[in-house]
């Protein structure tokens, strides 16, 4: 099957029911997408399909019907997305393992809601688990990114 990932087209030979997560990680070597729980409880595997955040551990490869963006396609160390820049500015990460998913969740959310309230941020980000407890900085970074994106 054909998958469009981060602007590149890939031909992959996998079972229809292989979760997109494992196609990305083990077939295409895109390891910024993380395995955390495998049951949509932690959000570490979050990617965008046509700009919308989805849990790639729950999306079968055969059901992908749009362009996939991973953390690697969102921005790079040399060209940060506004959300990534906010994550750097607030020094959010501790272990960092959940942060790809947090950033992808935030980027999709802010794309749909440019002026979120505190409650809306809390609601949007509560499906993403952070075991280190970086939540206060995630909140702050989402607000900074929202302000930056609004000004853009």
């Amino acid at each position: 099957m054909k998958l469009n990932v981060d602007g590149k087209s890939h031909e992959v030979d996998v079972e229809d029911d292989m979760p997109l997560l494992w196609v990305l990680r083990d077939e295409l070597g895109i390891t910024g997408v993380k395995y955390g729980c495998g049951i949509a409880q932690c959000g570490a595997c979050t990617v965008h399909v046509d700009g919308v955040a989805v849990r790639s551990c729950q999306l079968a490869a055969g059901d992908v019907d749009g362009d996939i963006t991973t953390i690697a396609g969102l921005g790079s160390p040399d060209a940060l997305h506004a959300v990534q820049a906010a994550w750097v500015e607030h020094q959010v990460a501790q272990c960092g393992y959940c942060q790809s998913g947090q950033i992808m969740q935030a980027a999709s959310f802010l794309d749909l809601n440019t002026a979120p309230t505190d409650d809306q941020i809390d609601e949007a980000m509560s499906g993403n688990l952070c075991r280190c407890g970086t939540y206060p900085r995630i909140r702050a970074a989402v607000k900074t990114a929202a302000a930056k994106l609004q000004g853009a």
């Binding site: 494992w22 990680r25 955390g36 049951i39 690697a72 960092g96 393992y97 952070c130």
Partner: protein, 746 residues
């Protein structure tokens, strides 16, 4: 080649022969410095000034031997070396180097001795020195016990200073100038005329010289980096998905694998039927192991899926199968023959309780899993005469020794390539991922095997926090707490863990009553006794170890006694507190939280003070009893740490410790049924989520001359402060974690 025999003299000086557990180590062995591991790999032109600094024409490498588990250890260690070396953090790379005895932990001994951390008496200091000598002889390179900062603070600055002065000597030799005319900045020696000689250019010359070892450390007033808000060296990678963890690594020719081990932990497998998995796409091998079955495949998910198709017959658990049996064993342990140690006995508790109106209460703390977000994994390649291991571990030398013993090889044939971890919280002190991956890889010689645990397997195989109970008896008179008698019974996580390490710790378990017996209060009659419950399900160190349970027991019971006495929880603690550092942190949170100011309806504040790892931490929690459940509004925390090295990361890790303590107290436990852990993924052991997170305000106090680590100490006061706040708001006293058994949370 530069080679240094006497590095960091102050940290290594140990006066006399060490005698512990009947073993006598000669003073010679104790004083001999371990070899510099960097010299083993050094090429011509590499200046390896000491075990922490390597400079050659290509660049500057700082060795940061403490594992970065998310706590920012790599940045902290780099900062300490860079401060004295006069390099900026964007001019260096860090490396774990190879595991080595040189990197033995000089600070670990402080918490391993049965003395209060503020006890500087002769007996306490002698024992610390003795234990320190043991750590050195063992070459105990350990990340744990909140010791990375205290272990590193002096010796890494000295390592930087030695390298700097040697580079200056090289420049002096090159130019004929006197060293006193030379300055250093941004990785260069600067001559009086402004000419810059880069360290990388001086390296070849410096490599020919004996390092300058007589160095002075700078006055704190001159520091450019320490204590300043800097950018973590890994922050860009961790904000762009480019940080590589061991689960992400790819080694040429690698295959994927996964495993199912007996969920009745520690018991063998009796047999299996893999016929349904054979021939599944991508599956190359199905390997029966004494304790389970592994599948080797060309993709992790294919290995996971094949494992699900295998029918396995498991032996029974080596511990009671049902949770109520575990509790019954704990409850039966408050007996003289299981007394591990009476840690404290001030006044006359028995006389005070005799005939008095005694207030009694009983508390429970469950097993809890570690479950960092990066699941356990390892890559292992077994070749002829050499084994390579890629994994994150807190005990790298133990990994080498364990694998060498398993494969009947020499330790130096085992090459561990340590990695940054996606969290640990104590999980990466254990060896299951290493053991299993070695067992699979030895079946596939010369092939690197990456073995990944499913999250469900990770939960099933976790070594949880100790289960425990406490029984308190106390009295009060005239509005004051007069007697506090606390008996604590838990399984010994330290013995469980050290037994698996093959290095059982002699004497009483210092952790069973840690955070309780050392309470910095002068209650007239105060007794704390620790009882050791015989091993049940295996347990291990969980962020803050004993204090995570004993601190909850002690500060909950004290709070109950204060309420029974009709006193204010803050005022009575301030009246009882008997140590200036503890008083200062209590006063700080009282001021920060505006303690005593009126609260709205259905709101309450709770306070707790627990000292662990030498750090007194006070926390105030404020909650609202809403129609949707308890909402944790705010937390204020003050901690006495001696000195903050990295303020940005300090605040993050401390807040994270509060969230860890609160979240697990709210909703996390492991219970056993049919010998298996009943919780197998995060939906059943959730921890805190973002919408539940309070506003957290952190204050560091720097009054004490001893520098301390902060990874664990914020955890223990969180649970009792929350329970005490919920009592204040609702009148409901929570005596058992997790609290969601009794109250609901928003």
């Amino acid at each position: 080649m530069g080679r240094l025999k006497t590095i960091a003299r102050r940290s290594f000086l140990i006066g006399s022969a060490a005698i512990v557990g009947g073993v006598a180590f000669g003073a010679y062995l104790v004083k001999r410095d371990p070899e510099n591991p960097l010299s083993l790999d050094a090429a011509a032109g590499d200046a390896v000034f000491n075990p922490w600094v390597k400079i050659n024409a290509d660049g500057i490498t700082l060795i940061a031997p403490h594992a970065d588990l998310g706590q920012g250890a790599a940045s902290m260690q780099a900062m300490l070396i860079a401060e004295e070396l006069d390099v900026e953090l964007d001019q260096i790379i860090t490396s774990y180097g190879r595991p080595a005895a040189t990197y033995y932990n000089t600070a670990l001994a402080a918490e391993a001795v049965p003395f209060r951390s503020n006890d500087e008496g002769f007996a306490a200091e002698t024992m610390r020195s003795t234990m320190g000598a043991v750590m050195k002889v063992l070459g105990a390179q350990v990340t744990g016990g909140s010791t990375s900062v205290p272990d590193s603070f002096d010796k890494l600055r000295e390592a930087g200073a030695v390298a700097r002065e040697t580079l200056k000597a090289a420049a002096a030799a090159e130019t004929g100038l006197d060293v006193s005319q030379l300055k250093t900045e941004r990785a260069a020696v600067v001559l009086p005329d402004g000419t810059r000689m880069n360290y990388t250019e001086l390296a070849a010359r410096a490599a020919q010289m004996d390092p300058v070892t007589e160095v002075n450390l700078r006055d704190p007033a001159q520091w450019r980096l320490i204590g300043k808000p800097l950018q973590r060296i890994d922050i860009l990678a961790k904000s762009t998905g480019t940080q590589t963890y061991s689960i992400d690594l790819k080694v040429e020719g690698m295959v994927h694998a996964s495993v199912r081990m007996n969920p009745r932990k520690g018991a063998p497998m009796l047999g299996f039927d893999a016929s349904a998995a054979e021939g599944m796409r991508g599956v190359s091998q199905i390997i029966g192991l004494p304790y389970g079955v592994a599948v080797v495949a060309d993709n992790t998910w294919r290995a996971f899926r094949a494992l699900e198709e295998i029918e396995i017959d498991w032996d029974v658990a080596p511990y009671p199968a049902e949770q109520d049996q575990h509790w019954a064993e704990v409850a039966a342990s408050f007996v003289p023959e299981r007394l591990d140690k009476e840690w404290r006995n001030d006044g006359d508790v028995d006389a005070a309780l005799d005939g008095a109106e005694v207030f009694e209460a009983e508390y429970r703390a469950p097993y809890v899993a570690h479950q960092p977000l990066e699941p356990l994994s390892a890559i292992v390649k077994v070749s002829d005469g050499r084994v390579d291991i890629w994994a994150s571990h807190q005990l790298p030398r133990f990994v080498q020794q364990r694998v060498a013993a398993k494969l009947d090889m020499e330790t130096d044939q085992i090459h561990l390539h340590n990695q940054h971890a996606g969290g640990s919280f104590g999980h990466r002190l254990e060896f299951d991922n290493i053991d299993v991956t070695v067992d699979v890889a030895r079946e596939l010689p010369d092939t690197p095997v990456k073995l990944t645990f499913r999250r469900e397997e990770d939960f099933a195989q976790d070594y949880n926090r100790q289960i425990g109970m406490a029984r308190g008896r106390g009295t009060h008179a005239n509005g004051q707490v007069t007697t506090l008698d606390l008996d604590i019974a838990t399984v010994s996580a330290s013995r469980s863990q050290s037994g698996r390490l093959g290095a059982p710790v002699p004497g009483p378990d210092t952790q069973i009553a840690a955070g309780a017996w050392n309470m910095r209060y002068a209650v007239p009659n105060l007794r704390v006794r620790a009882y050791a419950v015989p091993e049940l399900a295996p347990t291990s160190s969980w962020r803050s170890v004993g204090a995570s349970t004993a601190g909850f027991f002690a500060e909950s019971f004290l709070d109950e006694l204060i309420h029974a006495a009709g006193a204010d929880p803050m005022s009575e603690r301030l009246r009882l507190v008997n140590d200036p550092d503890a008083r200062a942190v209590l006063e700080a949170v009282a001021e920060m939280s505006n303690w005593g100011s009126p609260l709205g309806p259905r709101k309450g504040r709770g306070v707790a003070l627990v000292t662990s790892f030498g750090v007194p931490v006070a926390e105030v929690v404020e909650v609202t009893d809403t129609d949707d459940g308890i909402k944790i509004d705010r937390v204020w925390l003050a901690a006495e740490v001696g000195r903050v090295v990295d303020p940005v990361n300090f605040e993050n890790v401390v807040a994270g410790g509060v969230i860890w303590g609160l979240g697990h107290a709210m909703n996390s436990e492991i219970t056993y049924s049919d010998g298996r852990a009943e919780q197998d993924n995060y939906h059943l052991a959730e921890g805190m989520r973002l919408h539940q997170c309070p506003v957290i305000e952190v204050r560091a106090l720097e009054n004490n001359p001893n520098i301390r680590g902060i990874g664990e100490p914020p955890v223990p006061p969180a649970a009792p402060a929350l329970a005490n706040a919920i009592f204040a708001a609702t009148g409901i006293r929570l005596r058992e974690m997790p609290f969601f058994k009794t109250v609901s949370f928003v």
